[in-house]
């Protein structure tokens, strides 16, 4: 194969990333025009077109070269990447829709927001495609830089600044620990390429102190990013302080990118499972219990969703733990493949429900009021039935009630871990899920059964509630999330052709 065809093959393998970069650069170059005046209406459509374009390119791309490495082994394409990327880019597109309305209503809209979103998405894609720990790290940093900035995007809001600073400091610590892990990995494997790491693990690298330290540091670094206990302290403050649209984006993007990377890393080092599997199991169990317990006490919906995100990180870590079963006989191998598919579906369900829920909060926010607490949702079902019942649906999906996408995701992960024969994890998952239903249903209670605190919309239509916003971005996002959550809950097979991970 000649050099030019090789280059074309490499570039077509990362085409979604190239699309994101291209559109982001166009937005940045055009920033002076897009900032104010008539051009400012174009920034959000450009951002949406970037995410949607990358999604279409991904869906149209052939799977011919799947399994091959690109750029001399720096990156790869496989079904884990393509299914994860599908979820990520869909989430990114929906986040643009939410951002468009929310930022405009709070007077925060700037073209940079969308450029940073697209670059952040490309970083998460790089994490998924990384075949080398250095590329994984670069992707992680590219993604995280964007998320730090988006968390602090409301620059005059002290809470937003605090969120950005906290997120940055703890994120930088996590990155440093992860870099130490990569360095020690290089020490034991003499390479950072995943295939070489895998053969080093097969030679027994994870029995050596340096290998053990490397594996644990990598695990800790990734656990920070998905906010698993005990590395979750940043998440409630960041979720609460960041502008709601940024919260929706960072909650989903960081989780999707990091979990897919986590699955890949743990799949690579499956041969040394005795080193890291106990740690992952402990972190998963702690996250499920602590996340669900603290979420019960929250009255701020954003904080509650942060702690629920900790719990969901725990459920997803159950799927990551299944990677350790790969070399334990046929059942174990089956469990690891089921867990990959299950985790990606779970991420899709989680992203839809979470973006939908934050979308509802964004929908209810205006220039002088940022909807965040349970009180803001009081009586929503009677004052704005469509939005109210949409929020109910998202809460039910997050709780994992049957006939929603969240149930299918949880069931798939549950089934995978049972196939792997880890009853303790399965039981914890079931019990804590039941515990979580309480606080999700409390939101439902506030929406459906509590009286609205806000004044009823006046008959003249000048009330606060009488804003017809259904056709704006956030309305579209909520609608898509609703349809997809119900659709996938009833017909999960509809999307399995994109989401099944094959090995």
């Amino acid at each position: 194969m000649g050099a030019p065809t090789q280059a074309i093959r490499d570039l077509s393998g990362i085409l979604p990333i190239l699309v994101l970069w291209g559109v982001a650069l166009v937005i940045l170059l055009g920033a002076p025009l897009l900032r104010r005046g008539p051009g400012s209406r174009l920034a959000a459509p450009l951002g949406g077109a970037g995410a949607l374009g990358a999604l279409l390119v991904l869906l149209r791309g052939s799977s011919d070269g799947f399994g091959d490495t690109l750029f001399a082994g720096a990156a790869l394409t496989d079904t884990l990447y393509s299914s994860g990327a599908f979820v990520l880019l869909l989430g990114g597109f929906l986040s643009v829709l939410v951002a468009q309305t929310y930022l405009r209503s709070r007077d925060l809209e700037k073209p940079e927001y969308y450029a940073i979103m697209l670059l952040s998405l490309s970083g998460a894609l790089l994490m998924m495609q990384a075949n080398d720990l250095i590329v994984l790290f670069l992707g992680l940093e590219l993604m995280s830089f964007g998320l730090y900035v988006l968390a602090g995007f409301a620059r005059t809001d002290a809470k937003s600044d605090e969120a950005a600073l906290k997120y940055f400091l703890l994120g930088a610590l996590a990155s440093a620990l992860m870099l130490y892990g990569i360095m020690l990995t290089y020490g034991v494997a003499a390479s950072t390429e995943l295939s070489n790491v895998q053969s080093a693990v097969a030679r027994g690298a994870l029995k050596e102190p340096m290998g053990i330290a490397a594996a644990l540091l990598l695990v800790i670094g990734l656990c920070f990013k998905i906010a698993a206990v005990p590395f979750h302290q940043w998440s409630p403050d960041v979720y609460e302080g960041a502008p709601t649209s940024a919260t929706a984006f960072l909650a989903t993007t960081a989780k999707i990118g990091a979990i897919v990377a986590f699955l890949r890393v743990c799949d690579t080092i499956a041969g040394g499972y005795h080193t890291w599997l106990p740690a992952i199991r402990a972190i998963a169990i702690l996250s499920m219990i602590v996340g669900n317990l603290i979420a019960i006490a929250q009255t701020n919906v954003k904080r509650m969703l942060a702690y629920s995100g900790v719990a969901h990180a725990g459920y997803l870590l159950v799927a990551v733990a299944c990677m350790g079963f790969r070399l334990m006989g046929t059942k174990g191998t089956q469990a690891s493949i089921l867990a990959m598919t299950g985790a990606v579906f779970y991420l899709l369900a989680y992203a839809l429900a979470l973006i939908g829920a934050f979308g509802v909060l964004a929908y209810l926010s205006s220039r002088d009021k940022d909807a965040q607490t349970l009180n803001d949702l009081r009586g929503l079902a009677s004052s704005q039935p469509a939005v109210g019942y949409a929020m109910v649906l998202f809460m039910l999906s997050l709780a994992g009630i049957p006939a929603t996408a969240g149930f299918i995701g949880k069931w798939q992960v549950f089934y995978a871990v049972l196939t792997g024969g880890d009853v303790a994890l399965a039981v914890t998952m079931a019990l804590t899920s039941a515990m979580g239903v309480y606080y999700y249903l409390r939101v439902v209670w506030y929406i459906v059964f509590e009286e609205s605190a806000a004044p009823k919309p006046s008959p003249t239509g000048h009330g606060v509630e009488a804003r017809p916003r259904a056709m704006t971005g956030v309305g579209a996002a909520i609608t898509i999330c609703c349809i997809a959550t119900i659709g996938l809950g009833i017909l999960p097979a509809a999307i399995s052709s994109f989401l099944t991970v094959v090995r």
């Binding site: 650069l25 940045l28 170059l29 920033a31 002076p32």
Partner: protein, 162 residues
Amino acid sequence: MLGRYIPLLVAVVIAAIIAGAMVVGSLILGPKKPTRFKETTYECGMTPVGSARDRFPIRFYLVAMLFIIFDVETVFLYPWAVTFELGSRAERMFLLTEMGIFVGILLIAYFYVVGTGSLEWGTEDDASSKALGKAKAARPPIRFGNENSGPVSLPSGARKAA
């Protein structure tokens, strides 16, 4: 291997000795008769105006940040430059393309920086230039003096002439 750095080490040692000798020498040899005026901040013979501990405008931070970013870019240019000269014609074309992409992307970053006016200085009516104006207005008349006379105000006519 390390022998090559001995001249460097010698240069460092000589520099340290000379600098140290100057400081220590002036400490030992210089006459010291401190007075109140000698103890004040030396500001080119002017009486100091207020404290030197002043908040820097945040622009300095921005400039330093952008400096780091483009500094890191040049760090990548060194290994490229010393590799480039050894390559064949085809290899040079390849290297040129790769560096072209790298620099091109950062050129876009540069255009963005310029486009947002982040490198402009003092055209914005922001708080820092307002503060500067206030400080200028509040500055006391420049006073001259020495340790014998103490500070003396020159007649206003003399100041205008100067």
